[in-house]
Amino acid sequence: MNKEMQSSGLQMFLFFSELAGHKVVDHTGKPVGEMQDLRVRLGDPYPRVTALLMKRRRTKGSLSLDWSEVRSLNGDIIHLKEGTEAKLTAQEVRHDELLLRQDLLDKQVVDTHGARIERVNDVHLLVVRSDLHIVHVDIGIRGILRRLGWLRAVDALTDWLFAYQLREKMVSWKYVQPLAAGLMKQNLKLNVKLQTLREIHPSDLADILEDLDQETRKRIFQSLDLHTAAETLEEVDRKLQVSLLESAPVEVASDILEEMAPDEATDLLADLPEEQQQKLIQTMEAPYREQLEELLRFKEGTAGSIMTTDWISLEESQTIGEAIAAFKQTTHPLETVAYIYVTDRDGRLKGVLTLRHLLICARDEVLSSLMNTRLVSVRPEDNVDEVVEIFKKYKFLAVPVVNPENKLSGIITLQDVVEPE
């Protein structure tokens, strides 16, 4: 097979394992070394190989040569242009580059499309004119067999026995997030590549984090924007929550807590050592701080400890139109939108409306005339089990929590009750 690259327009695929370890020869055909690794510039959707790393007999370490000095790939031999000898340099890797063998091959990557961790068995490259691009990573059994040198034998065998060939399993590079240690150590804000993780659903991202080692896990977590970090943190296992939050600087950690649902944030804070809890709360902005301090006062296993302070309430003299306006003004996602609580002027709970009212009633109708006044509410100190009973009995989506003066201090959603502690 002739892999002349200069014949313009010619495109062909090849695997990294088909090149690695093969001979590099100069323009006269004299061997100059053995191809060891390829350096790749990240950033493009299908990043380009920028340099060739080769090993020479009797030389320690590897020498780097710019890819433009490669004349052609002929069979499995790499031909260099004339006069490249002087251009060989010691290897250096820029912060936006990675080495295929060192950082990718045999390492774990995140497949952001399938939302799972995979191990790279081989790298699929595309030759476009004189350039080499990464297009896929091979995560299948064929990649392993190819590298072991058994692929042909196995193909022949399965073909002979079952008229079947093992299937390729590849992930397109645009969905690949490498996790190599060197790459992770760089300033993550600049690491464009890590941004792809944002496309993973927070609960999938949480599963991925749980499967990674501590160091990588921390680095990925710290690279997330506050909102994604908060949502992901809500989904991970409790023990990990604590260690992840502890790994972030205090200011960042308190920002993340502010982004989290108040009841989730409270649960997490309650698991931290006293001293750290205080430090985090003090760093938070006033409204969040007060809210969380309020929630933290309740003992575990009581209604107060699982309630959230995230609800919509209106006064009884207000109208449906005003209620709809109140919804529109709420920018963050509420834990539940099923009920609208109605209070008197002093904040005492008077009744409840459902979403249905907002949809079917005229905009000028007054809430007090529509609301359901037969309310079931709980006290913050009530046991969670009693709350569960109420949910079972009345089939509510949320239950209000009131203090002795019948003022609304929080709500408990069905979700809060279903979630294991």
């Binding site: 774990q108 799972r116 191990r119 068995n121 392993i144 072991l148 080692d213 990588t216 896990r217 260690s243």
Partner: protein
């Protein structure tokens, strides 16, 4: 009154389990069917003369287990994961192949343990072994293993009976002391093989994979490593003390009486000084527990190690279609292992013993790989081996290689 004692016993169990970390659990699984068989054979054939070997074995065990645990804590990755990333796919595949075959031998040994322990109750192996295989398989697949683990672990208190029996058998302490201080050894293939078996059963290759994975799962921070160190050291000491007492007791009873262990009924006689005519019952119970405990961990750990290294989906909380390689390998190990024991006329105790010799022969390879990894500063940073410690560790590695070569040599020449 009865209720009270039951309750306090329950509390004791909970307390014990709270303390038991990966190190202690690993060590107790380590005293599996192959272990009990090998120690019993060693005591009954060679008396006190091999007892000394357990002292260097103990030192080696502490050092090797410590390195496994340290790698787990520092890297947060399993051993096969590290091997794959450091040595590439080629070495990983062939090494894992060797590990799977070795572990398969151990799985067979566990089912041989089930068969021979229940033979004491006249339950034929055609019934006991398939039943045990199905139970073990379901335990893990149905996710009930975690709760049963505590029962297995508690039942490991059985090993105390060897210690009591050992004292009651009135052994010749002077001879024991002399053998410990001035070891005697000759290069007969029998004794060399026994030595390789003792090493292989006490420091089994699969334990290093299992321990590291267990440590990783616990998510211990590097600064909290001290607790793990205690856990691992205590575990290693306990396992060798138990091993020593099994050898000693068998020497004092069986060897003294001229019995050479061929079956579980022979081995059970070692517990006669303590349990009298009930010794077979006691032994059968202990062997059954050890066999089932290890049989539920070993195939699981093997499937885990292979899938981790190859990059296949892992986990008992996944569906079969999500992790076919994992479940496939796991099931294959259990059911083929059980099937092998059902072959008519298979000598159960010999199978258990031979599997441990294979362990001993594979161990040096794993150890060398561990040493390369733990000295890799890119990986371990300041937690790499210190110079003196490393000297000890390599000395152990070279010693084990020499022992294996010597044994293979005598096998070939003889």
């Amino acid at each position: 009154m009865r209720l009270y004692s039951l309750k306090s016993r329950w509390r004791g169990l909970i307390l014990f389990l709270a303390v038991a970390g990966p190190g202690i659990i690993t060590s107790n699984v380590d005293n599996d069917a192959g272990g009990i068989a090998t120690y019993s054979i060693a005591g009954s054939y060679y008396g006190y003369s091999l007892l000394w070997s357990l002292v260097p074995i103990m030192v080696a065990l502490v050092i090797i287990q410590e390195m496994s645990a340290r790698m787990g804590v520092v890297t947060g990755k399993g051993l096969s994961d590290l091997i794959r990333e450091r040595f590439g796919v080629r070495i990983t595949v062939y090494l894992l192949l060797a590990v799977v075959l070795t572990n398969f031998g151990n799985v067979i040994a566990e089912f041989a343990g089930v068969a021979s322990s229940l033979e004491i109750f006249h339950i034929p192996k055609l019934l006991s072994v398939p039943l045990a295989a199905v139970v073990v398989w379901l335990l893990v697949v149905k996710g009930t293993y975690r709760s049963v683990e505590k029962v297995f672990l508690f039942a490991c208190l059985f090993y105390v009976t060897y210690i009591i029996s050992g004292f009651l058998a009135d052994p010749d302490w002077k001879v024991i002391g002399r053998s410990l201080v001035r070891p005697e050894f000759d290069l007969s293939p029998g004794k060399l093989g026994m030595l390789v078996g003792l090493v292989g059963t006490t420091i089994a290759p699969w334990m290093q994979f299992y321990l590291q994975a267990a440590v990783v799962e616990k998510n211990i921070a590097a600064k909290d490593y001290k607790l793990t160190l205690v856990d691992v050291t205590v575990g290693s000491l306990v396992v060798t003390v138990v091993a020593g007492f099994i050898v000693l007791t068998c020497a004092a009873t069986l060897h003294q009486a001229g019995t050479k262990v061929q079956t579980a009924a022979d081995a059970a006689l070692a517990l006669e000084p303590l349990a009298g005519e009930y010794c077979s019952l006691l032994f059968a119970f202990g062997l059954l527990n050890a066999s089932l405990f290890a049989a539920s961990i070993l195939p699981l750990s093997t499937a885990f190690v292979v899938c981790e290294g190859m990059g296949w989906e892992v986990g008992v909380n996944k569906k079969f279609s999500e992790a076919p390689e994992f479940y496939g390998l796991y099931s294959l190990l259990i059911f083929l292992g059980a099937a092998a024991v059902l072959l008519p006329g298979i000598p159960l105790f010999a199978v258990m013993y031979v599997s441990q010799i294979v362990n001993g022969l594979v161990l040096p390879v794993i150890l060398v790989i561990m040493l390369v990894l733990i000295n890799d500063r890119k990986l371990m940073g300041r937690y790499a081996n210190g110079r003196i410690y490393n000297g000890f560790a390599w000395a152990i590695g070279l010693g084990l290689i020499a022992l294996s070569l010597l044994y293979i040599g005598t096998l070939v020449w003889a």
